[in-house]
Structures are given as structure tokens and as C-alpha cells.
Amino acid sequence: MPDLLLELFSEEIPSRMQSGAARELERLVVGALSDRGLLFEGVRSFAGPRRLTLAVSGLPARQPDVSEERKGPRVGAPEKAIEGFLRSTGVTPDQCIKQPDAKGEFYVAVIRRAGRATEELLAEVLPETLEQLIWPKSMRWNSGSARWVRPLHSILCTCDGEVVPFEFAGVTSSNRTRGHRFLSAGEIEVRRFEDYEEKLATASVVLDPMQRRESILHESKQKAFALGLRVIEDEALLDEVVGLVEWPVALIGRIDHEFMDLPPEVLQTSMRLHQKFFALGEAEGGPICSRFLVVANIAAEDGGREIVAGNERVLRARLSDAKFFWDQDRRHRLDTRVPELRKIVFHARAGTMLDRVHRLQSVAIVLSRILDFDMEKAGRAALLSKADLLSGMVGEFPELQGTMGRYYALHDGEHDAVANAVGDHYRPLGPSDRVPAEPVAIVVALADKIDTLVMLWRAGEKPTGSKDPFALRRAGLGIIRIVLENRLRLPLSTVLCSTLIAARADGDQAPEARMSDCPDSPGLLGDAASDLLGKARAEAAGLLQDGDREVVSGVLGFLADRLKVALRGEGVRHDLIDAVFSLGNEDDLLRLVARVKALDLFLASAAGANLLVAYRRAVNILRIEEKRDGCSYEGEPDPDLLEHTEERRLFAVLAGARELIQAELAYERFTEAMTAMSRLREPVDAFFDKVTVNAPDAGVRKNRLLLLSRLRSVLQTTADFSRIEG
């Protein structure tokens, strides 16, 4: 059975694009083969700095034959019609059969198509398929209209050992390729995958990225171990390095002692970002030590001595820069940098960074007031939170924002809790990042994300489809995780409103306008916090201006959507979140989740399932009758018009139920609220069993409809049942 080997050999492919391109090549070729009935046994794809390779094994020698029947004119139809039919189908009269149907006999042409030879088909299919491979970024290079990630130099393509001839991007396929750029010379001729992989290895190219990965891991561990050290794991860096080398050689270099008092994050970031070095540590979880590991793409003649020396020298220059920033930055106290934040624009419609910091202060203090945390420290941490953006180090390494702020705050003698909050307030940075757990850090991290969400929402930057340039989804998920993982009770509408109130003072430089500039007296700070909190509560309760109301409801809805995503992993149903959230009276995430979970349990019980059916039945009847009568049935049923025992019982049970359910909800006894609901089951079932709603007497009928409407509204107390699916 023939095998296909395809290699696209080009100038250096960006590391980050390699594995995606290999997968895409595999997907496209597999699709093209399957479309043509070429089923195969196995397929593998590989990517490296200079080549994309695909190996398909166990192809058939030919496509399967197919035959197709096509119906033609009636027997005895005019000669011309029959001739035309024969011409269009390409068959002779004796290849036609006659088939009877209701109106007589028809010609049916049986067209047999012999399957084509696989090789011939490949030569036709592959260039078309390669045209479809889209790179994240591609270029032209004087080869007509063709695009590839970088200039394409050769195409190796064999089937069953023989060249599959075709042309793509001005390159004609052959059975030749090249090895390592420096460690091999001339071309390599190959027939099939086995000798391809072997000859490449001889020419100093490890084809399989997994194998390169393993070899880097193995060799670096060994070299580190020999020095009593271990490699600090960095998956993303490893992935990148795997795509930068065809012949990995791990080498160890030294970091000058004078740089070892730099923060470890600075050392590591500088090494990984600029140099793609791995940091080494002394023991598990221990500090980073004065060695680094670099993966070269060559086994050098001198064993890598010059390479190590060169890399050490480059690192020294990089770290001198970092050390310069570290020394310079610590000469300025963070708090003296704050006014300079006025020069950085946060967003054209959301003020400067200084405005943002002032809002963060207000909101962090209000949050602390609600949660009974330390307001003064929260305000201080919020004030300092963005000051490191003005430091030289963060200018050089933006990803160290927060981290550097923490170091500088500690250096300034700020309280540990304040410094840690500055350091952690951007967290969580992703689904796997840790969530701040110290009170001051919690409120500043929350304030940061709430401010981002509210202000950018207000500025019209809500995410659409796959576009979320300001990472609002991440901010939303961050809020949810901080609240749920720390079990915080927060009225979110009030908090959102406090951001909007704080935003009204944007651009206002007058100190008295700012709560955050209150004298240091904790009492006054408390008063100001209470004042803002009061205003925010009032606005949340409905005194909002139109635009602001939209922002608050928009952000709350967005958070509810994010909550669905966040809880999907726990198996919480999204429709139940909708059902509870859409009542519009729940802005406390923790309570929302508790209600949803209670509802979930309830619906899983027999009583719950039954009541859901009853609810739907009641709603259906009401909908039909209300439409027919052109009115809506709301109001108190008249006890005197109740005829049957079942009616009277349902009336009596409903009368008590609503108050009971509301009381249980008010005390947050959600399970009990559900129990109260489940007591409705039996009377409801009996009602539907025994009572005909559409009674002949108009008064009685209306009364029964009112009773159903009552049932609907009682059930709606806990959730909007109409949103429950299934």
C-alpha cells in the first residue's frame, strides 16, 4: 500500500505558528483525500523551524471505481434528444438500460467511472490543497501571487517512493530536501518517510517536535542535575524553544554575581523574554540561582564555549539595564509618582490613569466599608497600585506591572498588606492563576476589574463575538472568581454605582472633591465612605440617570453570562442561572449561585419536575385564554366562586405559600423555599386532575384562570420558570 510523504521547506517559520500550521496541513490533506474516496491507515504531521511535513500511510493504489445511473429520454423519443443524452453522459446505446415507469420505458445510462491512480490524483489535489493553507501572517516574495509564511524553497513529495510531480508557489516538487543550515551540506534524496526521518537525523535535524522537546527536557535536566540544580519549569518557553531549533543542544551559563540581588521575577523575565533562557534553581521551590540554561541550535566545534560566553555577555548587558532601572526606580517613592499618572491615558472616553486611580480608591474604600475590611489600607494600596507604570523597569518589562509595584512599595516602607495588594491587584490573570486572598488585595483587585468593566462599558467598548480587545471577559471572570472563592457578600449594583459616581469627578483636580484625599483620620474616612455608599445604594435602588442605568444592567447581565461560563465546569445549568437572574432582584453572586443550586436540586426531585410540568400547563392555558379573551388575568380569585374541593384546597395552599416562600428567601433558606414550593405539588396535580378550567359559567371560568395566574406568580417568586429548558 502506497505512502505519501510531503515536506514544505522554507525559510524560518515563526515558532508560534508551527504546530498550528502542521495541524492545518494535516486537516486539509486528510479532507481532500477523504473527499476523493482515498481512505488511508495513518497520518502524522510535523513542524520545525524550516519545514512542515506530512506522512500518510496505507493509501490505496487507486481510487475505488464508481458507477452512477442517470435517467434519460423516453424510448422512442426524437433521435436528437437521445443523441444529446448519449453525448452528455458519454455512453454508447448498448451501455444504456431501459427501465419502465408509469408512462412507459426510459433510457437509463449506466456511467462507470474507473478510479484514478492515487499518484496522479495527488499531483492534482495537493497544489489546490496547499493554496488553502492560511497562515496567521503571510508574505509575497517574487513568485507571482503565491503567499507563504516566508519564502518557500522546495517541496518534497513522494508516493510509494516515486516523486509526485506538481508545482506550487513557483516551486516544482522533487524527492530532495536539505538538512541543518550549518551542520550539513548539499541535498538529501529520499524515497519514503522512514529514510526521510533517518537521513534528516544524519543531517542534524530532529524532525519530530515531540522528540526535540523530550531531548531538550532530558538533556537540560541532566546538565542541571550534574551541578546539583534543577530547571525551573516553563512550558510556554519550552514550546517556543522547540520551534527555534532543529538540533537542540542544551548549554549552561553563569549569571554575574552582581545581578543576583535583582528580584527573581526580573531575572527570569529578562532571561526568558529577550534571551529564551531557562532559569535554574537550587532545590524544589527554592530561589533561582546564578546559572541559566540556553538551548542552542548547533553542536559547536568548541563544545559551545564561545556560544556560552556570547550569551553570558548579552545577558550581562540586559541585566545591567535591568539593574540600572532597579537602582533608579527605588530613588523615587511610589507615592510621589502618582500625580504623573495624569500623563497616561487610560482610554479616550474613560479619563487618565490618575482619574482611574482616584476611582479605584473610592471603590476600594466602599468595598472595604461593605465587607468590613481596613479602609485606610485599601485606599493607600489603590492609590499606589498603578504608580509602577511610571518606573523604568515596567517601561522595559510591561508584564512586571504589579510585581515591581510590590517591591517598590516594600522598599518605601509601606505596610506588607498594602504592598501585597499592589502586587496582586491584576490577578487572577487567567483561569489557572491564583485569586487574591488577603482583604486589602481582594478589594483593590475587585475595584480594578469593576472599574475596567464599568468604564469601558460606558465608553462603548463592550466585547463582540471573538473581539474583546480590553479583555473585559477576563475582568468579568476575575470578579466572579474573587467573589466566589473568597465567599464575599456584595451587592454588585451598589458597587457598580459607586464607580459611576466616582467617575463624575474625573478630571477634577480639586482635592476636596475626592474622598480619597480625606485627612488621614479614620473616622473622617469612614464618614466619607458611608456617604458614598449611601449615594450608591440610592442610585442602585433606582435613582440612576438613563445612560448609567444601561451600564449597570449591561454589566450585570454580562457578569451573569460570565457566571454561566464559569460554572459550566461544575455542571451548573445555564438556563437555571438565567431563570434566577432574570427576576432582576439578585445582584449578589454568592446568593445567586446558592439559589441556582437549590433550584437545580428541586427540579431534580419528583415534586420539582412535576411542578414544572404543572407550571407549563398553567401558562399554556393562560396564554391561550388570554389571547382569546384579549385580556390578561391578574388579580385575586373570589373564594365564593370556588366550587370543587380541589379548587378550594389549591386556593388555600397558594394563599399561604407566597408569604412563606418570600420569608424563606429573605432568610436565604433556599432549600426551605423549595420545600415550601414542593408542598404545592399535590394540590396542583389534584386540581388539574379534577377541575375543568373552561367552565360553562363565565364567572367560574374567570375565577379558575385567576387561580392559575396566582400559581404562576407564586412559582415565579423563586425563578422565572419560563426560562427553564428541557
Partner: protein, 292 residues
């Protein structure tokens, strides 16, 4: 080490290497610019159908990078060695690697790599794909296949190579402080440039008169547009580079806000685009040569 023992040897080596490749060896352009790419021999010649090969040293002025002569490797004035090959030869990577060997860097003893680095110049409305070339972890060359300049497609595509000369020389000479470089056998780099780094840093950050600069910017912009209208692509383009340099100085003085910054860049880009358009309808820009 052959060829590149001193700073000027490095220049000579590169010049003779690229001269042998058929490049016109030009001298630096006499207008201040931020990078060798701005030289009309690159920015304009990259457009249009005519083949072109040139190599030259270009002083690059980066007012913001001034460090008063105190930083080991940052300078507000440094030299780039710029090569433009149009159309890009199919074996341009190999040709380039031979230039590295000519300098004295042996790829069998060093770790030479092509690491993704796409190039974009918002002020020129230009972009291309390519790499930074690493030698033992240090960037020694920017390697770009031009795709667009002034918003116009480059056809044919040029290859542009930019060597950062000081950095490369520091590597070759094993020097850690730029001013310690041997410029030739008698003079150090610091003797040639240290005072000017100090003085120009003071000019760039403290003394440059921002109202004069703003005026210069506006004047250059006006002059550029009227020269474009007169169909004089090259003089117009000089004014465009001047405007760009005024903007860089204003930026270094810290008087340009973030929003204004985007506005200035857009204005320079509009000039560059107009110049490129004028170039494309000039004899050297519009037509392929009659022979070959």
C-alpha cells in the same frame, strides 16, 4: 579575526562584501533620520519595478535614546549599515550569512538563528515580514522582506538588511561599554562621540525649543505638500524626513500627549504616502529599465 578588528574595519568589510554583490555603495544621507530605512535609497527605491541594490552607512538619530553618554549601549546617534536588494535574491539568507562570515563570525562556532520579528513603520506606512538574526542570543541584524511602503505594495519584493554597527562591533571586539570600542587602532569610540552624546542629550531633553520645532514641523509639512504638487518626489521626501525628525525631537521633549502622538504620526504618514505616490509616477519609480 579577519576583517573586523576595529569599528571602521567592520564598515570596510561590510562595504566591500556588499560591493562585490553588485550594490551601489552610497554615503550617508545628509538629512537627520531615525533609521536607515528612511533613506530614499531604501524607502523610495523599494517601490516601483526597477531592480536596485545599494548599501550604505546611515547615522540614526533617536533623540529619546539619549543617555548623556552614561549608558553602556544606548545612544541618541548611532550607525546602521543598511543593505537593500531588489528584487530579493532567492538565496538572500545564504548571501547574508556569508557577510557574517566575512566579519569573522563562524556559524559553526556560534549559534546563529533567525527569530521571528516583523517590521512595521507607522510613520512610513510600511511593513514587512522577517526576522531578527541572533548570534549567541544577541540581535545582530534586522532582516525584512518589504511588503508595503507608503501604503503601496512592493513589487518586486525587496530584502532589507540592517546591521546595528556599534552592537555588532561590541560583540566582535568583546567590549561591554560602547565608548570603549576601538574605532581604529588609535582612537576609541568615546573619543569620537562621547561629547556629542552628552551635548545632544542635553539638547534633546532640555534645550530643544519646542515652539521652533513645532513651526519647523508645520513648515516641512507645507513644503512637502507643495513639492509633491510640483511632482518633485525627492525634494518633497526630504521635507517628509525633516518633519519626522522634528516629531521625534518633540516626542523626546515630552510635550506630545498620547492622542497628539497618534495625530503627528498620521500626518507624517500622509506625507510619506504622498511622496511615494509622486515617486511612483517619476521616471525611476514608474518604469522598468529598457534593457534587462
Amino acid at each position: 579575526m579577519p576583517g573586523a578588528r576595529t569599528f571602521q574595519d567592520l564598515i570596510f568589510t561590510l562595504q566591500s562584501y556588499w560591493a562585490a554583490q553588485g550594490c551601489v555603495i552610497l554615503q550617508p544621507y545628509d538629512v537627520e533620520m531615525g533609521a536607515g530605512t528612511f533613506h530614499p535609497a531604501t524607502a523610495l527605491r523599494a517601490l516601483g519595478p526597477r531592480p536596485w541594490r545599494a548599501a550604505y552607512v546611515q547615522p540614526s538619530r533617536r533623540p529619546k535614546d539619549g543617555r548623556y553618554g552614561e549608558n553602556p549601549n544606548r545612544l541618541q546617534h548611532y550607525y546602521q549599515f543598511q543593505v537593500i536588494l531588489k528584487p530579493a535574491p532567492a538565496q538572500v539568507q545564504d548571501i547574508y550569512l556569508d557577510s557574517i562570515r566575512a566579519i569573522g563570525l563562524d556559524p559553526l562556532r556560534h549559534d546563529i538563528r533567525f527569530v521571528e520579528d516583523d517590521w512595521e513603520s507607522p510613520t512610513l506606512g510600511a511593513w514587512g515580514l522577517g526576522w531578527e538574526v541572533w548570534c549567541d542570543g544577541m540581535e545582530i541584524t534586522q532582516f525584512t522582506y518589504f511588503q508595503q511602503v507608503g501604503g503601496f505594495d512592493c513589487d518586486p519584493v525587496s530584502a532589507e538588511l540592517t546591521y546595528g554597527l556599534e552592537r555588532l562591533a561590541m560583540y566582535v571586539q568583546g567590549v561591554e561599554f560602547v565608548y570603549d570600542l576601538a574605532y581604529n587602532d588609535r582612537f576609541r569610540y568615546g573619543e569620537v562621540f562621547h561629547q556629542s552624546e552628552r551635548e545632544f542629550s542635553a539638547y534633546d531633553f532640555e534645550r530643544a525649543d519646542t515652539s521652533i520645532l513645532s513651526r519647523h514641523f508645520a513648515d516641512a509639512e507645507k513644503e512637502c505638500n507643495s513639492l509633491v504638487d510640483a511632482g518633485l518626489a525627492l525634494p518633497a521626501y526630504d521635507q517628509c524626513i525633516k518633519a519626522s525628525h522634528c516629531f521625534n525631537l518633540l516626542d523626546a521633549r515630552g510635550v506630545i500627549s498620547v492622542t497628539e502622538r497618534a495625530g503627528y504620526i498620521a500626518r507624517v504618514r500622509a506625507l510619506a504616502k504622498a511622496c511615494c505616490e509622486a515617486w511612483l509616477s517619476s521616471p525611476q519609480g514608474a518604469y522598468a529599465p529598457r534593457h534587462g
